[in-house]
Amino acid sequence: MRAKIDTKKYMLAFVVTALVFFGALLISNRFSQKRIEEIKSIENNIALDILASETQFALLKESSCRTVDHRTAFSEELNNLAQKLSYTEENLGDKNKEVIDLKKYYSLLQVKDYLLVGKINEKCGIKPITIMYFYSNAGDCDDCKREGYVLTKLREEFPEIRIYSFDYNLDLSVVKTMKSIYGIKNTLPALVIWDEAYYGFKSPEDIEKIIPQLKKFRAAQEKEKNATNTSTQ
C-alpha cells in the first residue's frame, strides 16, 4: 500500500515556505531602511559640520586659515557618503523616492561645501582643486559609468581633490542653478574644472593634462613614501 499524500503536510510546507520567503523580503526591506537611516544620519552630521565650519570661519576670519586645515575637510566624509549613496541607489533603484530625497540632500551638501571652499579660497589664498561632474543614469549617457570609475580612482589617489557629482536630471533647483551658472549642456558626461566645462569622456591622462598640479601631488606622494621607507629601514 503506497504512502498516501498527506494534504496537511503539503499545506504546512507551503505555509513554512511562504513565511521564510516573505520573511526574507521583510528582513531585506528592514536592512534597506536601516541603510537609508544611516545615510540620513551621515548627511545630518555633515550638514552640522559644514555649518560649524562656516560659523568658525565667519568668527575667526583669516586666522581660521591657520587653525583649521580646510584642504581636506569633509572630503573623506563626502566620499564615504557618495559610496554609500551609490550602493543604495544600485540596490533600491534610481526611481526610489527615498533615494531621490537622499541624493537631493547630498547635492545640497556638496554645493554648500563648494561655497565654503570658495570662501576659503578667497580669504586664505588656497586654491583647492575642484571638479564638478554632471552625469545621468537615465540610460542616455554611455560614458558616465566609465567617467565615474576615473573620478573614483582620482578621489582615492588624491584626497586633496574635491569632486562634486550631480545627477543632471535631478529635479532640484540648486542643481538647475549650477547647470545654468556653468552653462552645462545635455552632452554628458560633463566636467567643470576651474570654471571651464569639458564634455565627453575624459581619461585620467586627459584630466592630468587639464590639472598639471596632479603630477606635483603624485611626486610629493612618492617623495613622502620614499621618506617613510627610508626611515623604517
Partner: protein, 413 residues
C-alpha cells in the same frame, strides 16, 4: 521591465525550490527517530537466501575488490550466491575472475556482450533465491550491508526492493571529492523519499529485490542506458514498495575527470528525463503519491528550473565581470585592501534567499554525512560541492536537453 519579468520567473522557481527543501526537512523531522538507528546487527532470526549478480564489462581493475567485499559479507555462506557475469569483456576481466572459480559461493558466467541489463537478466533467470540483487563491478559493500538489508526485508513484508546508502570510494580528485558530498546529499534525499514511497531509481550498486518482483513485472529491459531507473519506475507503476536502508553502506567508484563525469551524468540526466517521459502517465497523479506529485516532476522539470536559475546567476556574474574589466581598463587597477563596512554587506532579497538556501543545503549535507559516515566532519568536499557543482552540472543538463530534442541517445562510456 524585461529584468522584472525574468526576476519574476526566478522568484517563482526559487519558491518552488524552497518549498521542496522545506518539504524534505519536515519529512526529516518526522523521521528523526528512525534515523537514529545505527548499523549493529550481527545475527538475524531468519536469513533469506540471496543471489548477488555482478555484471562485468571490462572491469579487470576493480572486479577483484568487488568480489572480495561480497565474500567478506557477514552473511551465512550457504545462503549467499554470487554470480559474476562477464558481459563479453574485451580486456582480461574473464581471466582475472578465474581466481574465484574455486569459491563454492561463486559462479562464473560468460556471455556475449549485450549490455548490463542482459547480464543481470541472465543471472536472475539462473537463480531461485528469496532475494536477488545486483552489484556493479566497481563497487564494494561494507561487511554488514546485506544483513542490514535482509533485516529490513524481514521487518517489512510489504517491502519489495531495498536500496543502500552509496558512498564515494576513495575520492582523490577535486571532482571526486565534490561527488562525495553530492552523494551525501543524495543519501539524505533518498532516505527522505523512502517513507514517502517516492524513490525513482534502484541503483546498480547493491539494490536488492524480492524474487516476486521479477515474477510480477518481468526482467530488466533496455531503457536509455538507465535500466535501473526504468525498473524502479515500473515497480512504482505497479505500486511495489522500494525502501532505502540507511544502515546498509556501499562504496562506489566515481569518475575522476570532468570528461568521464560528463559522460556518466549525461547518461543519467538523459535517462532520467526520457524514462520520466516514458512513465508520464504517473505525473501529477494522486494515486502515485509523492512520486507522481514531487519526484517525477522534479526529475523532469527540475532540470529546466536548475538551468534557468543557473542562467540568471551566470548572466549577472558575467555582467559584473565585464563591468570590472571596463573599470580596470578605464581607470587602471587600484590595489587597496578592502575596508570592512557592514553597510556594504549584501542584504537584498535575492542575497538573503541565497543565504537561506546555503543554510538549508548545509543542514542536508550535515545529515547526509551523518547517514553515510556516522558523524559530521567538515571537509573540503563540502566547499567543492557548493562552489563547483553548480558550475559543472549545466554541462550535462544542457546537453541532455539537446539530446532529447534531437532524439539522440547516450553511450555507456
Amino acid at each position: 521591465m524585461v529584468e522584472a519579468f525574468f526576476s519574476g520567473i526566478l522568484y517563482v522557481f526559487l519558491f518552488i525550490t524552497l518549498y521542496l527543501e522545506v518539504f524534505f526537512l519536515i519529512t526529516f523531522f518526522e523521521e528523526r527517530l528512525a534515523l537514529q538507528e545505527k548499523p549493529h546487527r550481527t545475527k538475524l532470526p531468519h536469513y533469506p537466501s540471496v543471489t548477488i549478480i555482478v555484471p562485468c564489462w571490462n572491469e579487470e581493475k576493480t572486479v577483484t575488490g568487488t568480489i572480495h567485499s561480497l565474500l567478506d559479507l557477514n552473511y551465512p555462506k550457504e545462503k549467499l550466491k554470487i554470480f559474476i557475469v562477464d558481459d563479453g569483456s574485451t580486456d582480461s576481466t574473464w581471466e582475472v575472475i578465474q581466481k574465484f572459480a574455486h569459491e563454492p559461493q561463486v559462479a562464473l558466467i560468460h556471455k556475449e556482450n549485450g549490455g548490463k541489463h542482459t547480464a543481470v537478466n541472465l543471472g536472475i533467470e539462473k537463480t531461485n533465491t528469496d532475494l536477488i540483487g545486483c552489484l556493479d563491478a566497481d563497487s564494494f559493500v561494507e561487511k554488514n550491508a546485506l544483513i542490514e538489508i535482509a533485516h529490513a526485508f524481514n521487518e517489512d513484508p510489504s517491502m519489495m526492493a531495498a536500496t543502500p546508502v552509496l558512498i564515494v570510494h576513495n575520492p582523490k580528485t577535486i571532482l571526486q571529492k565534490m561527488q562525495k558530498t553530492e552523494y551525501h546529499t543524495g543519501a539524505f534525499l533518498k532516505r527522505m523519499l523512502s517513507p514517502l514511497d517516492a524513490i525513482n531509481v534502484t541503483p546498480g550498486p547493491f539494490s536488492i529485490f524480492r524474487k516476486e518482483v521479477f515474477e510480477k513485472i518481468g526482467l530488466y529491459k533496455k531503457a536509455h542506458n538507465t535500466e535501473d531507473m526504468e525498473f524502479a519506475l515500473r515497480m512504482q507503476a505497479h505500486h511495489l514498495r522500494i525502501r532505502n536502508v540507511h544502515t546498509a553502506h556501499v562504496h562506489t567508484s566515481t569518475p575522476g575527470t570532468l570528461y568521464k563525469l560528463y559522460r556518466q551524468r549525461l547518461r543519467w540526466a538523459y535517462g532520467t528525463m526520457k524514462n520520466t517521459l516514458d512513465y508520464r502517465f504517473m505525473l501529477f497523479r494522486r494515486e502515485y503519491g509523492i512520486l507522481g506529485t514531487i519526484t517525477l516532476p522534479l526529475s523532469f522539470f527540475g532540470v529546466f528550473i536548475f538551468l534557468y536559475n543557473f542562467g540568471f546567476i551566470a548572466f549577472h556574474a558575467i555582467q559584473s565581470i565585464i563591468e570590472k574589466i571596463i573599470e580596470i581598463s578605464t581607470a587602471g587597477f587600484i590595489f587597496a585592501l578592502p575596508r570592512f563596512d557592514i553597510f556594504f554587506f549584501n542584504t537584498d532579497f535575492m542575497a538573503i534567499l541565497a543565504y537561506i538556501f546555503i543554510g538549508l543545503a548545509l543542514v542536508i549535507i550535515w545529515n547526509g554525512t551523518k547517514l553515510a559516515e556516522g558523524r559530521f566532519r567538515p571537509s573540503l568536499s563540502i566547499f567543492y560541492f557548493l562552489v563547483f557543482y553548480g558550475m559543472v552540472a549545466p554541462l550535462w543538463f544542457c546537453r541532455a536537453i539537446i539530446n532529447i530534442i534531437l532524439s539522440k541517445g547516450t553511450k555507456w562510456r
